[in-house]
Amino acid sequence: MSHPIMLDGFSLPPPIKVSTFTKLEFGPVQVRLPVLTATTLSDVINQLLTTQEQYLSKQSTTAILDMIDAAVARWLKPDDPIREMAERVLPNITGLSPAVIRLGLTRMLEGYRKDALYRILRHELGDANRLDAFQAKNETRTCLTRAVGPRITTNILAGNIPGLGIADLIATVLTKSACICKVSSHEPFSPALFAQTLIQIEPRLAYCLAVLGWPGGRPEARSLEEVAFDRSELVTATGSDEAVLAVRQAAARSQPVSGRFIGYGHRVSLGLIGREALEDLKSAAQAAALDVAMYDQQGCLSPHLFYVETGGDHFPRQFAKALAEELKRLEHELPRGTLDIPTAARLHQIRSMAEIKQADGEEVIVFGSETGTLWTVIYEADPGFALSPLYRTVRVKPIDDLTHVIPLLELWRPYLQAAGIAASEPRRVLLAEALARAGVNRICLIGRMQQPPVGWPQDGRHFIADRVRWVDLEL
């Protein structure tokens, strides 16, 4: 790795050319992004709209699904040069370990296969071809209905999970919308690489996409945001609450009132371990450890803590110990990534604080990697919901009954995303009712938290249906 690897984090439709670039550096990897003017961006949008009108709007959903599937297949093929490139550079860009990147990409992209996307379209729209033509709305057949996507969508992407932006790109294309993807400076590469993949499959589809970057929220980007938002019928933003709010405000200034905005902000998840699951302590701990290790807890589906029910075959603190052992084992299989100094310092601090509380006689037990901050499990009797500093730092808290967790979530209601549960199915179903009312959007098995099926209700929303408008034809 003596020579820097130069990559392009953008994809622009021809004949657009840009001559100035900025470079983002990630150790030996450099990612180039174009410096755009409002005029160039306007030209890009005109070009996208032309191709959307002449090509994409006329494609059937099935045809689009086939093209996406062909691209996804290349990302899933271990020896494909595109897949190899992603695996080679994403560890540098994200700081995650190569093993986590490999597993993450495979699991994520498996969800974007044709069958899965088809099922989502059918489920969300009532019929998978509702984006192609008017179809009967009800049995009387006096009214037909269809879905129409935006002509153009701007997606402001997050960078916490590698490849996450590809989902926005796919959803946009499935609604037959032209697409501007503004990449995150934390992961500015995979959306462009996916666009490059599409160019090799069907350039006309790929040229309905522009992947680019601008310094979001900063004064110099204001004119670019105005152009993009003014012309987009839909603006989506994923990121920190602060970033999403800034985009929402900017979009509100530029979009007509009828323009749509979808924001995905800060979210937290948690795990619940029922007493019956403690019978097989090792399996429960294994599943929980995987949920913690995947993406080093950087995802909104990563558990911040586990509530473990008392009264089972093992004590909650035994679960904490078992979880620690599994995290230790995973350190070989799925090592944690590298951290910058301030983050590692924070983890060290959190662990030392728990150690001093333990020394002070509080009901706290710390299990941690012998060297460094690779993983930390803090068993803590205090039942309060506590956020984790992430990067494989997790708390385990005992609870008399899993239903007692519900009132503890009240303060976190606007931020809740997923709850993983290890318990019998009847209890999971019962608990799900209460969790749904408490604000949780996805309830799944422990061990599956990081494998959401495509179309899972992120922030409680539909994957495709929230992006379309409905048109009725009354006969």
Binding site: T238, A345, H348, G361, Y415
Partner: protein, 368 residues
């Protein structure tokens, strides 16, 4: 027992007053043994790390306690003469850190020579204009306690405090500065960065500037911790220079904390008066050692490489000597042995990098 207690404090006091090469290490080990014996929580913390007076052979091996621990428990070896509280700006009133100090004479012994060496190396007698609350107003502030020690010992006539219960006395301060200019009498300004920032805003709005007499100087401390102010220290020093007429060689930043009996000061004024020209950095007094460690390996970082700051302060003899701070910095290669070399602070431990959809600890704590 009482006798033994007194003897360790007295030994430290003697060392601070007359630092002798080679005495820090044995004294640090004695203090560690004392704190290990006297503070049950600290003892158990050390035992869990398998560090005891029997197997610790150097000050660097003494287990460091996170400064945040002062919010959770009372780490003290004897009945305190005084308890200092942190200002508690970022968390609720129940989460203020408290530092119990059994012997204030130790505190005083550490404050005076260090302040003198870095702010009054020329032994000037200056009127001190202090931008903190008075001891009456801020009875629990360690900074005020320190300023009061310094004011009584070194402050010229009419030295005093400019933060009142109504806030910073902007007019009073302006008046005092004008007097200083008129009578050509140099002054020392000392206080918290936020108060200076406020005063600079006030002056800039009114296009008011001062040409303070030569020899005037200032000490600021605290920075913008926990505030949403984006201003680099060089920008800030430039503003001090422009508005107050104090050259950057006479602007000394202090770095201290409630949890620590000793302070650190910038080298600039002492260097200037000694004809030295070195980049701005913090100096380590002889009774303190500072390590910059890699948070993963806990080994010393080479000069210039960032790490966590750990201080070992003998003036903390009555509480905990070894402190793990949340500050990030690097040591300066100044030829001194590791621990005694100067350092600079570059930031704080974070959980603060805004990444994706996972929520940040601090943000939600602030929202609570």
């Amino acid at each position: 027992m009482k006798r033994k207690t007194d003897s360790i404090y007295d030994e430290v006091l003697d060392f601070i007053r007359h630092p002798v090469e080679g005495r820090f290490d044995p004294l640090a080990l004695q203090v560690f043994a004392f704190q290990f014996e006297r503070s049950p929580a600290y003892r158990r913390y050390c035992e869990a790390k398998d560090k005891t007076p029997d197997n610790v052979g150097s000050w660097r091996e003494i287990p460091a306690v996170p400064t945040a621990a002062f919010k959770e428990l009372d780490l003290v070896c004897d009945q305190p003469e005084k308890v200092f509280f942190t200002s508690g700006t970022t968390q609720g009133p129940t989460k203020r850190g408290r530092h119990s100090v059994p012997r204030l004479d130790l505190y005083r012994a550490s404050v005076l020579p260090n302040f003198m060496a870095h702010l009054l190396p020329d032994l000037a007698e200056l009127r001190m204009l202090i931008l903190t609350g008075s001891p009456m107003l801020w009875p629990h502030s360690s900074l005020t306690h320190m300023m009061e020690i310094v004011r009584r010992e070194y402050g010229g006539t009419d030295s005093g405090y400019f933060v009142t219960d109504a806030g910073l006395d902007l007019d009073g301060l302006s008046r005092s500065l004008r007097e200083a200019c008129m009578h050509n009498k140099p002054v020392m300004l000392a206080g918290v960065t936020l108060a200076f920032h406020h005063f600079l805003d006030h002056c800039e709005e009114r296009r008011m500037t001062f040409r303070l007499p030569s020899g005037s100087r200032m000490m600021d401390t605290g920075g913008f911790k926990g505030r949403k102010i984006n201003l680099s220290s060089s920008d800030l020093y430039h503003r001090y220079e422009t508005v107050l007429g104090i050259p950057q060689t006479h602007i000394v930043n202090e770095y201290g904390m409630t949890e620590m009996g000793s302070q650190f000061y910038d080298n600039v004024l002492a260097d200037h008066l000694n004809g030295l020209s070195r980049p701005r950095h913090k100096r380590v007094p002889p009774w303190v050692r500072t390590r910059v460690v890699d948070p993963e390996t806990l080994e010393d970082q080479p000069p210039g490489s960032a790490g966590m700051l750990r201080h070992y302060d003998l003036a903390n003899c009555g509480s905990v000597m070894a402190l793990q701070t949340e500050d990030i910095g690097y040591t300066v290669g100044d030829g001194l042995p590791a621990g005694q070399a100067g350092f600079e602070i570059t930031g704080r431990a974070s959980g603060s990098e805004a990444r994706g959809c996972s929520l940040l600890v601090e943000e939600i704590l602030r929202a609570q």
